[in-house]
Symmetry: D2
């Protein structure tokens, strides 16, 4: 008995195109967003708009949430009138936000007591991945719930991996962000070094990106660093939120991550300069200031 009616909570930059993809795939979608205007545009695409979380989830067979941070997730699921109170028993709840693994486990446990299955299923791939339904989805939770969610996931993403029990999706997403952070710093340092040495950055990137030095960041963000294109694929403020989750979780699990902590501090420099809403590739600006490299003379 497959899922047809989906409640979608949080229709921002990511949530909106995701909801749209569910509609395209034939799901009935009820949408709710704290700032109501952001949901409105989905009405023309066929979504039913709801005035509250409670109203949104009342008839849902599945609930998907995509909200900014841990407290938002706790509010959506656990506050009075939230999903826990209002969704019909037996519904499947899926949080696709990036939040602390401990929050995912806490919500899962609370919902289990109300006969709601819960998956943590954060994504990577950014706004483009959301629009083009090419997200990577990292899922934590019960295998049965993971199976039930497949049709939804297939409407939203491409790489869909069941990583383990609740929390494992979030932890995997944090691993993803550790990697991205390290790759960004490496790319920035390579470009600074190249520029100091008088090298043509494009030739350098051409020569190295196909081999052992290659990465998604080198292929996709290093050219933007070079071209000083700082339009956000993913904003520094959000990367910093995720690195905060990484470092908090690391503290709780007694993990020492000197490289990640270094990137986190350098990106704090971006934020200090008011560059938090630029794309993560703007980390190069921190390195340029450190290195007395004038802007625009790349």
């Amino acid at each position: 008995m497959s899922i047809r009616r989906v409640a979608f909570i949080g229709t921002g930059i990511m949530g909106q195109p995701m909801a749209r993809n569910l509609l395209k795939a034939g799901f009935e979608v009820a949408a709710y967003n704290r700032t109501a205007e952001k949901a409105r545009v989905l009405a023309t695409a066929g979504a039913k708009l709801a005035g509250s979380v409670a109203e949104c989830v009342r008839d849902a067979e599945a609930v998907i949430s995509m909200v900014p941070d841990s407290p938002d997730v706790e509010a959506v699921y656990l506050a009075p009138g939230g999903v826990g109170d209002s969704a019909p028993a037996g519904a499947l709840a899926i949080d696709m936000s990036t939040v602390a693994p401990a929050v995912a486990r806490r919500v899962a446990e609370a919902l289990a007591g109300r006969r709601l299955a819960f998956l943590d299923a954060p994504v990577s791939g950014g706004q483009w991945g959301a629009i083009n339904a090419t997200l990577s989805i990292m899922v934590g939770g019960q295998p049965a719930a993971f199976e039930r969610a497949q049709p939804l996931f297939r409407a939203l993403g491409k790489v869909i991996v069941h990583c383990g029990p609740n929390g494992a999706g979030q932890t995997t997403k944090l691993c993803n962000q550790i990697l991205v952070a390290g790759h960004l710093l490496a790319a920035g340092e390579a470009l600074v070094f190249a520029r100091k040495a008088g090298l043509d950055a494009s030739k350098m990137l051409e020569a190295v990106s196909g081999g052992a030095a290659g990465s998604w960041v080198v292929s996709n963000l290093a050219p933007r660093m070079r071209d000083r294109d700082f339009a956000p694929g993913f904003m520094i403020d959000l990367q910093q939120k995720d690195l905060r989750l990484v470092l908090e979780t690391a503290r709780q699990t007694l993990a020492a991550l000197p490289g990640t902590a270094l990137v986190n501090q350098l990106m704090a420099g971006s934020q200090a300069w008011g560059e938090g809403r630029l794309g993560t590739q703007a980390l190069i600006k921190v390195l340029e200031r450190l290195n007395a490299l004038p802007e625009g003379a790349a």
Copy 2:
């Protein structure tokens, strides 16, 4: 008038399969190695063995060198009886070792005075790239010399980029090593974090490697980190030699590279533990010791 007779100096782990690929491609190869036994096996493949650099290069139309470090390159080219003294005027000299960009420029200048064109053309791709002729070759020098060298490069590698004047090949290689270093640290920290959080490392790598967190290192070395397979594709001692060149060149060009310096220090920890001859993926062992993660319980 294309090149046929090649002198190959330095037939170690990399040089030997490279010389072999030149033979396969139809070049006449004279080979010389300081430790003569290492050249001997090439005789059966059709190479002529030489007892000295001078003898090796006497009739060469092109000279290729593949030796460990800057002083070796200076000796091969500039010492009495070296390539500068002994190669016929008009020959093309190509150093494919990884050495300081300043050394490449110095040798180029010295050889120019003796009517020998010089290219710095370090490679990436390791022993397997050398064997399978899939190296990336990063070339610095005059365009005309680069053109003349094409047939040789095509016998040895796949991605062949002219990066700029002499030294630019070496500088590009050092950028490559900055990137690899950063990717290794990121991969190591992601795996440590995953293990501390009780995550299945394979699931994690599966979920992240196809997206924004993907890299050659994540796909190729992180699984070896996970499996504790430390057989060297590229040895830590060599990576450290290259990072030393990076940091010396950074010092000369006033470049500040905090991330690269951090990896360099952590890898010094590998060397302190006697792990310098393991592959670079053994950086994970440094992080495991830092994190009190017992070996073998991945």
Copy 3:
């Protein structure tokens, strides 16, 4: 009209000797501790024991608290039955715990509404400073409240500085911890370097500690590092709590502190090895493991 009756909340390792010093100085002390046994010993020294915060502060002219962390301070002052509810209007409240500056400001504001003056007055100097009344006391709050508190502070410490408005005492304490952290890492690296080079550590410390390289840590903790005396003057777990406050406050104020973050991560290594209850000088053990230096062969 000077203060005579003092309520002392939190009589642990630090609070107990501090309360004792107040008794010695002639103050009447009512004491409360969550775990009642820890307060009991003070009864023989003349303190009145209280069964609750409310009972402890009922007649107090001044309240002093010395508790582990931010949530404890919020509970002591702001919970129902806490200082805010129970202390007589006009009393002076002094929190000498180390907590987030934001918490100090929040408590100050809440108490102001109940006609209670509040000072944040964290200390440095450790258990010995508490016993010998030689603490440094860093005070934030209104000047008038600071003046009223002088007799109390003089019974407890030696260097007493009014740092600014509420929160400034805590922020100053965090600066103190940034400095201690950096000094610890420097001392540890100097000792590791000396040992690797075969130097006599004692001679080295003798030669450097009187000049530009001198510090309290070099004079007091480096010899313990050398002698492998890890008895806690101040525990790594507590230093890490304080560095967490530093880095959280840094995040809120957009401050980038790469050195502090590095020490924080290395000390996480101490905790991972189960060394959190050793003194901060045990940071040397992290560096020794990194450097393959066997224990006990200093």
Copy 4:
């Protein structure tokens, strides 16, 4: 049979006042400097000027050198016509420059073959220490030579420590520089943190400098950081030269020093900004740029 005739080689910012102090103490001083003008002013103080190293040392009972870097020391002692060739057998040679420990050992060995005793005896205390004869002197070499040198050392400094065999003086000096580097970073981060939090820097320094956070750097250089007084007591370029020696020696002894490497990279940022000739306290400028703190608004 005590020393009377001293040859002093290298009469720059440090060497000149040191030679002057020897004259004051009653020694006969012959002085030589590569740039002759820098020695001339010593003539009026009673020194005999020499036109070459050979002339300078010809009649010396002791030779003292104070030159910039390792190659200079090797030239002074080992080049044809150098101290090794020209000083009378039995003379005592003392190098007070800061150079690589390996160089000190090499020179000592070479001179031993020519019946010249050699001490490496680098100093700390800067220009003021040189002028006021309050240097710390860290000595490596034979005990007998150390004893013979006592009268000279007492004319130049205050803390005089025999650290071990040749090289031990230099290694100790490098430990000194590791400590100074770490203390500078800690002081800079504390000031940045204070400023971000709106704290009065003077109050903060007053409160912390007498306790566990105290150091020579906190007392002497942090106030200059606060006041933006960047006049050099010791220049960043020289500190970086010394950190280069630290990190090269660390490489040779397989020591991993992540904190020192971080300071080294941040100070490279000073040099990139053309601040290498400012005092080491100018490290604060690097941290201010990282943190978007405008100059002059401390």
